[in-house]
């Protein structure tokens, strides 16, 4: 920057060209919602649909959520894609617990949301029995558009939600 520009007296109009004001909370949420790092917990056909969602045709990176991580410690959006049996429950819970705050969960497909058509001896009747869920995506399996819509809904939720602190989330979860 030259010396000249520093000496120019800045009016309010000039300031609008170089800066804008916002609330810190909104600014943080804007960053969070546009850089979701998903962790796919894929157990069934919904995971195949998610592959299409990440692929170039549907391209979830348009919404900033393409950095798929396979370690819960590097992700903030847990996607449960498929049937979760009762025996798998503690594993899912452990994966969720290992994720750092802030974190969100999308239950993709009817199996993860409610057990789907499995009303038998083995399938958990919705993962919300063990972990809090932010967005439910219906479908068996949902289309890639459906999964993207779920992600957009989650972005909406993050925008509106304010900064939810860890202790509050646990209060909600219990």
């Amino acid at each position: 920057m030259s010396e000249h520009s520093l000496t120019v007296s800045s009016t309010e109009a000039d300031l609008k060209n170089v800066a804008f004001t916002t609330r810190l909370e909104d600014f943080i949420n804007w960053g969070r919602k546009n850089s979701l790092w998903p962790l796919p917990f894929g157990t069934a056909c919904c995971a195949i649909e998610y592959m299409a969602t990440v692929g170039s045709h549907y391209d979830v990176s348009r919404f900033g959520a393409e950095v798929v991580r396979f370690s819960p410690r590097q992700a903030d959006c847990l996607l449960v894609l498929g049937t979760v049996v009762e025996k798998m429950g503690p594993v899912l819970k452990q994966v969720y617990d290992q994720m750092l705050e802030p974190k969100w969960v999308i239950a993709v497909g009817v199996c993860a949301s409610s057990g789907g058509f499995y009303r038998a001896y083995h399938v958990m009747q919705g993962i919300d029995n063990i972990i809090p869920v932010d967005v439910y995506v219906p479908g068996c399996p949902p289309t890639p558009e459906g999964i993207i819509f779920g992600m957009l809904k989650l972005q909406e939720k993050i925008t509106k939600g304010g900064i939810v602190r860890a202790r509050d989330r646990y209060k909600i979860a219990r």
Binding site: E86, K87, G89, P90, R119, A120, Y121, H122, V123, Q125
Partner: protein, 174 residues
């Protein structure tokens, strides 16, 4: 081709050793598939023979599962049956071995030492039907969780009876 193959097996029967012949209760041919029902006591002898005899050489165990004939539409000798699918790569032929097991004595000899693949299949049959495999090194549940009570694929198990897992710790081992 298929037809002559199965006839070959049927024609081989009279030439079998006496101990094998007495073990055989019935031989059925249906659409090119051979089913041999044998006595429970001679299971290991017959399978060992089929595996090692140079004319047969059934060297692969494709499948092992149990059946529950409780509500079957035609009467069967016993309530349960264990079925073995053997494949001979040498003959390019398959055979189905069937053993009936009574409800009062739900025990069959394990063949895990003849076919390593049988190990987990026998655990599965025990888990889902409650059939005990005598001599199995690790006969514990494989699919249902550790707190599960009963055997869910039995026909008298209510199809919608769901059992929650109380433990929050993932199961140890396989």
């Amino acid at each position: 081709m298929q037809e002559t193959d199965t006839k070959l097996l049927a024609s081989a029967l009279p030439n079998l050793p006496a101990e094998i012949q007495t073990a055989i209760l019935a031989v059925e041919e249906f659409k090119g598939e051979t089913t041999i029902t044998i006595r429970k006591e001679n299971l290991r002898t017959v399978i060992q023979f089929l595996k090692t005899d140079p004319n047969f050489r059934f060297d692969v165990m494709m499948d092992l599962f149990a059946m529950d004939y409780l509500k079957y539409n035609s009467p069967q000798p016993e309530r349960f049956a264990v079925v073995y699918y053997l494949v001979s790569l040498f003959q390019t032929r398959r055979v189905r071995i069937k053993v009936f097991v009574s409800e009062d004595e739900l025990v069959v000899d394990s063949i895990h030492d003849l076919y390593k693949a049988a190990n987990w299949f026998e655990r599965e049959a025990w888990d889902l039907y409650g059939i005990v495999f005598n001599g199995h090194p690790n006969l514990v549940r494989i699919l249902c969780h550790n707190e599960f009570v009963g055997h869910p694929l039995r026909k008298d198990y209510p199809s919608d009876q769901y059992q929650r897992l109380k433990s929050a710790v993932p199961s140890e081992g396989l």
